[in-house]
Symmetry: C2
């Protein structure tokens, strides 16, 4: 594959990646990628993160089957955040919710 374009990774070598449902526009989750996770995501066509808690690469859905099939990636104006558009095979959240953002903050609305 072609070389990856330069991105601004943080002090830990990570860049936040927002995952958006390509069909509905719903925001599904926020994860973190390093350069290798970006590369794996592009090569496999499945959204792959660096898990900060487990310190390992994590292809979303590799155990549950609820993969996120890659539709496209955008970078922001200063290249320090990614917007990943994906087609989710099932619920994205480990709770069974469609999106990890299923709770209101509690003080608004």
């Amino acid at each position: 594959m072609n070389a990856l374009p330069p991105l601004s990774y943080d002090a830990n070598g990570l860049i936040p990646a927002i995952v958006q449902d390509d069909a509905t526009g719903g925001v599904l989750m926020l994860g973190y990628m390093d350069e290798e996770a970006v590369r794996r995501t592009l090569e496999k066509g499945l959204v792959t993160f660096w898990s900060r808690s487990r310190q390992e690469y994590w292809t979303k859905g590799e155990t549950s089957g609820n993969v996120l099939r890659l539709k496209g990636i955008r970078k922001d104006c200063d290249a320090d955040a990614l917007l990943v558009r994906a087609d989710p095979a099932g619920p994205t959240c480990h709770t069974g919710e469609r999106s990890c953002f299923y709770r209101d903050l509690g003080v608004v609305e």
Copy 2:
């Protein structure tokens, strides 16, 4: 106002905040908030970040007029990311684009 619910801030006391256009579902930008920025956002009804580059509070649009009027805030399943729904008064990106995510990564699509 009521007390803020507990959130998981990072080692710098920040939490990433995805801003989504409440009307269109488009993802506009990613910024960072500390607890005070969350409080100011809720009190003013205008999305306010902690600017890591300028090291100061930054109410989006306070100089350009392109404010983000708050519609609601959700937290994710482990409370370490926010999804802020807003009504943008104009282009969100400093480039004049509607969204900061206006460029494809370059190696996909």
